[in-house]
Subunit: 467 residues, 2 copies
């Protein structure tokens, strides 16, 4: 491999990636992943990808745009696939099902194997009891651990792997509340015997590597008046804040925290000319005006930051030498965040980033077959592909969706209409659909049929023989 820093190597990939059909492989499906039983070897490493807000529909939207209706993402060719139930309970009655989850409850199911209420980070609904995460179990077993995300490293998904707190919003010591509508996290205050905010818990953690955003949650003073940045440094973290810093740290051993933005990192793609979903407009006669189709383009605000692919490559380069293996969690966070905002190009670009990062891991796994790779999701989201014009366009009255709509010109030259119809006044909602999971490597055969998100925790634990 080249001696160039990973960030440079992967960043030299062209911005609009040419995807091509590699011909030749026939219907290789005459065999079963299940009926051909063979002893399951154990895994040494696990890489858990989370596409935040990914469901069948969001995947189809991104695939149609990037690869064409007949395409497939790298992970869609993985040998194992399951559907995962997204199970959540009410905080007020932990025996009662809730039918829509969030990144906290979904992240906790994946990271810690329990069904909890929305907003909770690796703690039980009702009791608030902390539950160990797969990263904590891995560290206790002598494995290295790492987190890579495009969100703040204090955001719900990464937090679920490293912290324990009742409210996901308590990201830094300045976020502990209370607010007029939310008591936030009084019991987590150190003064009250708690573990402190998520950032403080990360600073005190034994996670070897964290790469993402969220500097502002660390640039806050804790209850003793010391900044969390300082706490992290005192605990042995080298903190870098840009690509140059990341490259400079490449050959340095020890704990590393890369914070490449104050909060969520900017997304890779935006709609051309601010293309996003908007309410339908009408002519003076009341006829529906066809929204102008747009393409997706690079987001100029992305800047010189490392991509998810580059961060994943850096993480794997550092983890490769781990004497007893590792667990790495990689999240493409803004598929969800852009769906909340009705921005299909943001969703699509972040799904592309997920796929590119998975390819890095799949390549690593070819060299290290004792690596289990999961590609999972925490909850469903709002965007739906709808027909345009309506199936009922021949009717006399105008036919249009009541929410917001975007028409996107796909790379294969079609026009795909994406509707967001879950919230009339603010951001789109999560949805309660089951979500897909993809797997390869030792232990992956358990990813099969209809499972629960929390089963994935057990699958990783079993594959790595963690206690």
């Amino acid at each position: 491999m080249s001696g160039k820093p990973y960030t440079e190597r992967v960043r030299s990939v062209p911005s609009v990636v040419p995807w091509v059909l590699a011909g030749g492989v026939g219907l290789g499906l005459a065999t079963t992943p299940r009926a051909c039983s063979r002893p399951e070897e154990g895994a040494r490493n696990a890489i858990v990808f989370i596409g935040d807000g990914v469901d069948d529909h969001q995947l189809t939207i991104a695939r149609n745009y990037l690869l064409g209706a007949n395409g497939a993402f790298s992970f869609e060719d993985f040998p194992y696939r399951a559907a995962a139930r997204v199970l959540t309970v009410l905080e007020s009655d932990p025996r009662a099902p809730e039918y829509v989850g969030d990144s906290a409850s979904g992240g906790t199911a994946l990271a810690a194997g329990i069904i909890t209420s929305r907003g909770r980070i690796a703690t039980e609904a009702g009791t608030g009891r902390s539950v160990p995460t797969m990263l904590e179990l891995a560290a206790a077993a002598g494995k290295r651990t790492a987190i890579v995300t495009t969100s703040s490293i204090t955001d719900a998904t990464p937090a679920s792997f490293v912290a324990h707190i009742n409210r996901r919003f308590c990201q830094g010591p300045g976020d502990m509340g209370p607010t007029p509508t939310d008591p936030r996290c009084p019991e987590a205050l150190k003064a009250n015997g708690g573990l402190g905010s998520i950032a403080e818990q990360i600073a005190a953690s034994d996670v070897d590597l964290l790469l993402g955003g969220g500097y502002r949650h660390f640039d806050q003073l804790d209850e003793a008046g010391v900044s969390v940045v300082r706490r992290a440094q005192d605990a042995g973290y080298r903190i870098v804040r840009d690509t140059a810093g990341l490259d400079a740290a490449a050959d340095e051993p020890g704990k590393l925290m890369g914070l490449f933005g104050d909060d969520t990192l900017p997304v890779a793609w935006v709609g051309e000319d601010d293309g996003r979903a908007r309410s339908v407009e009408f002519t003076a006669d009341g006829a529906v005006i066809d929204p102008e189709p747009f393409r997706c383009v690079d987001n100029p605000a992305f800047g010189n930051r490392p991509t998810l692919e580059a961060m994943t490559a850096v993480a794997l380069e550092r983890l490769e030498a781990a004497p007893d293996g590792f667990v790495l969690m990689v999240e493409s966070a803004s598929i969800d965040k852009q769906a909340h905002q009705g921005r299909p190009c943001g969703q699509i670009g972040e799904t592309r980033a997920l796929d590119q990062a998975v390819r890095v891991a799949a390549s690593f796994q070819e060299r290290h077959p004792d690596t289990l790779i999961l590609v999972a999701s925490d909850h469903g989201h709002s965007a739906q592909i709808i027909p345009w014009p309506s199936l009922f366009a021949s009717r006399p009255e105008p036919q249009y969706p009541p929410g917001k709509v975007a028409r996107v010109r796909t790379l294969e030259g079609g026009v795909m209409t994406v509707s967001y119809g879950t919230n009339a006044n603010y951001q789109e909602e999560h949805t309660g659909t089951q979500v897909p999971v993809f797997a390869r490597g030792p232990g992956a055969a358990a990813v099969h049929g209809l499972i629960r998100q929390s089963d994935l925790f057990d699958i990783v634990r079993r594959a790595l023989a963690l206690n």
Copy 2:
């Protein structure tokens, strides 16, 4: 891109299409179980279930209600599961992808293995050329064939297995048009050398058994002034119209047509007190009023008709003795039709009917293991589970979905909120998501990973060794 029409391109590429990054790292899939092949035995019979409008989200809605969030339908325990791309093209440009299908294009993909435009029944987009269906191939091979549906047997899904016409709406000779907005089917008129309406084509078909609705399309006069009922009888069909008639015909050999309603059969379940999705209402102060949750109850209009389960049992009883096996298509049609109308209880009850019918087939398959069972779908639909109250309920302005919403009290005692947000003025739209497929029996192992709907035609054909 190739200059070949899209339909040809997609038919000529291998069934498993590996897309790789040009010049990048190919995925070797080193751990794929496809390497451990085992010879596939052939199947003698095939039973193809179609849940009309079923996608991951519609399944989750029905599962949550019927079985609880942690439940599973019988077919979700089948050993093989895949996601199927719903591929459709524009009639005006058959090389161009359309991203939302209908029951005609989806039914044609499943029944005849081609990608066509919406509205077409087993005919090619653009050219109108007829393409043989799996029932026609099976009959030519000496197998018995049958269709069971809760829709009119002339509706798009069943029609795709037995008829060939350019417009799905030409169900009977009186439906051939033209209308002010639609020329309908002039080339299908017998006077113009065509095959006639769908009902006329069914009456002239060699399908051994058809059970469903749609009597009114047969109670019409053809171009020669003869009713299609009479044509069917002359062609050897015994026609029954109620459960007593069906029972009386049970031991009679020969062709049988059961028409248990004038059109689509009534659905099994409705919402209590006319419970269905409605626009959100507000207090005088502008606050959102929580919609009253309701349960699902039996539909009194269902009457004494045979259920989908009963019709499936009758079909399998008649087909069991087929000397050279059979192909049976069973459709639960009104999952789609009820979703169009924003009626979650209708959807749920018809998904339950699908599951019950699949159980009959699974039981049959235990006695006849040489039977391939597929449970497929033609296209996605509109209903989404959303949080209630909104994730953003703490904001000052009211938070509510812009479309219609229903709150359903599930059998496990939860409350599930279902939103329909795809059409502001009339019926809900289909959506463009990929759809799930489930399979068991010989040949089922090919239902794996990400496939195309049209691959299922090839899977049945190969399993049954049809030419």
